[in-house]
Amino acid sequence: MKRLLLALCLLLLAGQLPAATPLPGDSVYQLDARLTDQDGHQWPLAARRGRVQLVTMFYTSCTMVCPMIVDTLRLTRKALDEPARERLDVLAVSFDPARDDPAALRRYAGQRQLDAHWTLARAEPQDTRRLAALLGLQYRQLPDGDFNHSSQLILLDADGRILARTTVIGRLDPAFVDAVRKALAKG
């Protein structure tokens, strides 16, 4: 049994090697961070490689701008025509790893009726700080537990390069939607 497992592992490894072309140096997937999603699954950030996606950071107990971040992501996806929309994923990582465990993320996904295109995730505090730094986002926890944070939507290509970003929250940013369309047409 053990030998069988080992053989399987080797097979898996061997199967992955030829497919893995080196990551570009300007890919955010260079960051060795582990994330846990709303289903409790844990994976390296680089597991997101392969699909164009929108990335943001938020936290579930945020009552001010974060709901509007989700609304704006939804608007952006809706602005796309059907075949393209299906190929656009969303990754929202929490600023608040202490309170946003998988159960909290799952509750939030339920309340906001987020479908399978949406991944809500958390990382350990050090990885959270690194990911924010990588994405160029600022955040700071206040004594009452809330956060001050910058709000942006960031467009990644399939290899994790930042193609575009917008700070327009609460309504559509036409230039950003254009960038998303172009990225999906290429990918």
């Binding site: 509007m68 160029g136 206040l142 009452d144 944070h149 700070t167």
Partner: protein, 256 residues
């Protein structure tokens, strides 16, 4: 003769093979601290747990040893997402210091990611802003010398020094905690440089674009008279994590 020399040679070999002498860390008691950045954006003091701080900034020699044992941080191998094109560009080669980077000078032109990785290799981390500000408030006699005009003048005199002059070696006079060079040598990275929330972005707080920041808005800066420290906050908060500059180095910290 040969047999007698052998142990000496072995010892010499061991000295070369051993990691560089462990860096010194000083224990700082922490406590409540009136930061220029109130914890709640209004007036709340910062609460700082006891911690240890590296007594000196990391030097070129120390960073060279790190790059040799962690070649992914060589300037010719580091991915662009972790350091800009000027990373360690004053070194003679990717694995050699040369005349513009003396061994005892503090290492500069290092990104936040590289500084973090170095500290991890020392089983440490970058200090938080509050830890750094608290430590840098000390002088040779007291833990908080900020009310002393001499303290401010010393800091500002350093700011006025042209950045083109070569950096002195680490090892200035120790403060009351036994820590050296916090003011007067190089600017230093802090772990939460992207938490200070002031600088160009905060101008939008009062403008139409309030939504860029969620929550209570930008932290208001207190102690306006303490512009020596405010200048440092402004500089740090303007940085991106990949930025490297001629006079930005770092030191590491450890939680107690």
């Amino acid at each position: 003769m040969a047999a007698r020399r052998l142990p000496a040679l072995l010892l010499l070999g061991a000295a070369f093979a051993a990691p560089a002498a462990a860096a010194d860390y000083a224990a700082l008691p922490g406590g409540t601290f009136a930061s220029v950045l109130p914890a709640d954006g209004k007036a709340a003091p910062a609460r700082i747990a006891p911690f240890r701080l590296r007594t000196e900034p990391v030097t070129n020699a120390e960073f060279l040893a790190f790059v040799k044992s962690h070649p992914q941080w060589r300037r010719d191998r580091v991915p662009a997402v972790f350091a800009d094109a000027r990373y360690l560009s004053h070194w003679a080669a990717a694995d050699a210091l040369g005349p513009d980077a003396l061994p005892a000078q503090p290492v500069t032109r290092v990104s936040w990611f590289a500084a973090q990785a170095y500290c991890e290799s020392e089983h440490a981390r970058l200090p938080g802003w509050y830890e750094w500000e608290y430590a840098a408030a000390a002088d040779a006699r007291q833990a908080d010398a900020r009310a002393d005009p001499a303290w401010r003048e010393r800091v500002l005199a350093w700011y006025a020094r042209p950045s083109s002059t070569p950096l002195p070696a680490v090892g200035g006079a120790p403060d009351v905690h036994g820590v050296r060079d916090l003011n007067g040598l190089v600017w230093e990275w802090v772990d939460d440089f992207n938490a200070l929330l002031v600088g160009s972005d905060s101008r939008d707080q009062d403008g139409a674009d309030k939504l860029r920041f969620c929550g209570a808005g930008a932290i208001g800066m207190q102690q306006k008279e303490n512009y020596a420290t405010l200048m440092r906050v402004a500089m740090l908060s303007s940085l991106r994590a990949t930025d490297t500059t001629n006079n930005l180095g770092f030191r590491c910290a450890r939680s107690e």
